[in-house]
């Protein structure tokens, strides 16, 4: 038997924090390739500490629903799951290239745990950002005439956070699909507050590389960009700011195609997922087009 465990941050305060995690778990569950699909959280239940013991499967694939490598993927999750002998060197990562490592966990006897890199740095995440642009504009061919901004938290706490943003920004630029592609940050230059200054295009899609909608994506960023004076009154999509139409996408992690990244992470780590990757890509495209 094989199990998939999606581990995410969760929140004591925001009831919507876990919603994308549940949604993507359900999509993977419906694909029917894992005997068990579970979620676990740092701030909600089941906690990382207690999820492995709820599983029957002896092959367990753990995929962190985090945007970048760093404190959570390298310290908190391995420690709390009690991954025996985990060493970040096993990933041999340059900051965005962690794939997977295979370990046992002292919490449970007889289980093999394939601990994967975060969803946010997988190549397929690039496709999710593009899909998000399609969803928010309602145009499956969006690109020409449009700029795209990928927004990150900032480099203050963790340099890998900005690395992940830059990685996807460059990959999208290489697609030659959008007229302009830029990485912007909440706390650092180039700042998302000045988004219109960094683009010449009349239309700019702004996609924050965050897992869940919350304070940053639904209050901070919209107000900082000038989409609204008060987040409680909401904003239009698009909203014109300084002559530029801003198509604000909200957290990319809520895009249904994220489930595909989770599946690909597990597949790369050796999970038998059959043709589920292709099926989920197709199913979430239809869902996104509704």
């Amino acid at each position: 038997m094989q199990a998939l465990v999606i581990v995410a941050h969760g929140s004591h305060l925001n009831p919507d924090s876990s919603t994308p995690t549940y949604t993507h778990a359900d999509t993977v569950r419906e694909a029917g390739v894992f005997d068990e699909v579970r979620t676990a959280f740092w701030k909600e239940e089941p906690h990382f500490r207690e999820v492995l013991r709820t599983l029957e499967s002896d092959e367990v694939f753990v995929v962190p629903l985090f945007v970048s490598e760093g404190y959570f993927t390298e310290q908190v999750i391995p420690r709390e799951l009690r991954l025996d002998g985990f060493d970040v060197e096993q990933w041999d990562s340059d900051g965005t290239s962690a794939d997977s490592t295979t370990l046992s966990a002292t919490d449970v006897a007889g289980k093999t745990v394939h601990y994967c890199g975060p969803a946010g740095t997988h190549d397929a995440m690039t496709d999710v950002i593009v899909r998000r642009a399609e969803s928010v504009t309602g145009d499956p061919d969006v690109g020409p005439g449009f700029g795209l901004a990928v927004v990150g938290h900032g480099t203050e706490r963790n340099e890998n956070s900005a690395k992940a943003i830059r990685y996807h920004t460059e990959r999208i630029r290489d697609l030659d699909r959008f007229d302009e592609v830029r990485d912007l940050y909440m706390d650092e230059d180039p700042e998302v507050d000045d988004v219109t200054e960094f683009f010449e295009s009349d239309d700019v899609v702004v996609v924050p590389l965050f897992i869940a909608d919350g304070y940053h994506t639904q209050e901070d960023i919209p107000e900082d960009m000038g989409l609204t004076d008060d987040h409680r009154t909401g904003w239009d999509t698009p909203t014109e700011v300084d002559g530029t139409r801003i198509w604000y996408a909200g957290a990319v992690g809520t895009e249904e195609l994220m489930a595909d990244v989770v599946l690909e992470r597990a597949r790369d780590a050796g999970a038998d997922v059959g043709d589920a990757v292709e099926r989920v890509r197709e199913a979430t495209r239809r869902a996104g087009a509704d």
Binding site: H12, T54, V76, R79
Partner: protein, 362 residues
């Protein structure tokens, strides 16, 4: 009882013998042997037809055998057997109770075991307070996954960050689940409780006490380590009294200060155990670590005796979550809103200082 249940018994008997809850059947050179000591039954040299006849005489034992020899996760099986007190009651006692609609309570969830005509179990899960409500008057659910969104908020729509808080919403029912789905639903309502309860029953529950849990913390929570300064564990008693009391969490706290030092406060009466300080306790402890680093000071406040008691009553009302129960016009209650507003009008200065006493020295 149906034919496959008898076949199951016969197959098990041939494959090394069948035994469960007082029924034993095996197969040797002279045929089957069927015995139920509690019923005074012990017959040997039986043909398949004989076995079938006996099975029809004691169908409850046979259906019970079929149900409880099915392949299931050990923890789930233990939970479902707990639900019908399978390890406490004989088969006839148990079946009598199940036919009358026996139920048990897991946290605030009432788990009722229903018996169909073939002795198969179905499960009805709902809030224990909704025990007497007609099923049709409750919102019906059949997919265990629906439990996740149901338990996210309380009856007032407020977010429940702690799944084991005694604030489970009312008004829902899963009226017809099989055993696997019942255990899965419970997993969403009270995550990992079945696994930990089962480990405890097996004598294998790993408890992480306060000290080791706090020692493990890092990042913004690393500061909690500094709260233990070799001055005893009174502060941890306060944490447990504040957060882990049955009025706040239905898990039974098994963790102590450390391996050798028990806390003085009661761990509660919950069915399922709490094996380490949870993330809410750790977060709160981080705040208290900072607050408790402050040095005490002596303030002078001027209050009437009734006002002093009123301050105490207000703290009690907030701490016990009672504020919404105090009636608007019940000015006899010291924590009544008008009484409290009067106290504020009289005793606070323009800067919000009680008795006009500044928090910091001028």
């Amino acid at each position: 009882m149906h034919a496959t249940q008898v076949e199951r018994l016969a197959t098990a008997a041939r494959e090394g013998g069948a035994e469960r809850d007082g029924l034993a059947v095996d197969h040797g050179d002279d045929g089957f042997r069927f015995s139920i000591p509690a019923e005074g039954v012990d017959e040997d040299g039986l043909t398949e037809a004989d076995l079938d006849r006996l099975a029809r005489e004691y169908p409850d034992y046979v259906t019970n055998f079929a149900v409880w020899t099915r392949d299931r996760a050990a923890a789930d099986a233990a939970f479902l057997r707990w639900a019908e007190r399978a390890d406490e009651l004989s088969v006839p006692e148990r079946y009598d109770r199940l036919r009358e609609g026996a139920a048990r309570t897991w946290g605030e969830v009432r788990v009722a075991v229903l018996l169909d005509e073939d002795g198969e179990r179905r499960y009805d899960l709902r809030h224990e307070d909704d025990a007497g409500v007609p099923t049709g008057d409750l919102d019906r659910y059949d997919d265990p996954l629906d439990a996740r969104s149901l338990v996210k908020t309380d009856d007032d729509g407020r977010y429940r960050p702690l799944k084991a808080a005694p604030s489970l919403p009312h008004g829902w029912v899963f009226p017809d689940l099989d055993g696997r789905a019942a255990a899965e639903t419970v997993e969403y309502v009270y995550p990992a409780t079945i696994a930990n309860w089962h480990l405890e029953n097996e004598g294998e529950l790993d408890v992480d006490h306060w000290r080791e849990t706090m020692e493990r913390q890092s990042g913004i929570y690393g500061v909690v380590k500094t709260w233990d300064r070799g001055e005893g564990h009174e502060h941890v008693n306060w944490v447990a009294e504040a957060c882990c009391d049955d009025s706040q969490c239905l898990k039974r706290r098994e963790w102590q200060y450390d391996e050798k030092t028990d806390l003085d406060v009661d761990g509660g009466d919950g069915v399922f155990p709490c094996r380490e300080p949870c993330s809410l306790v750790v977060s709160a402890a981080r705040k208290w670590t900072r607050l408790e680093a402050e040095t005490e000071r002596t303030y002078e406040f001027t209050l009437t005796p009734s006002e002093k008691e009123q301050v105490e009553a207000v703290i009690d009302a907030v701490a016990d979550g009672r504020t919404r129960d105090i009636r608007e016009a019940d000015v006899k209650d010291p924590a009544n809103r008008y009484r409290t507003r009067f106290l504020r009008a009289k005793r606070f200065d323009g800067a919000g200082n009680l008795s006009g006493t500044p928090t910091d020295e001028e």
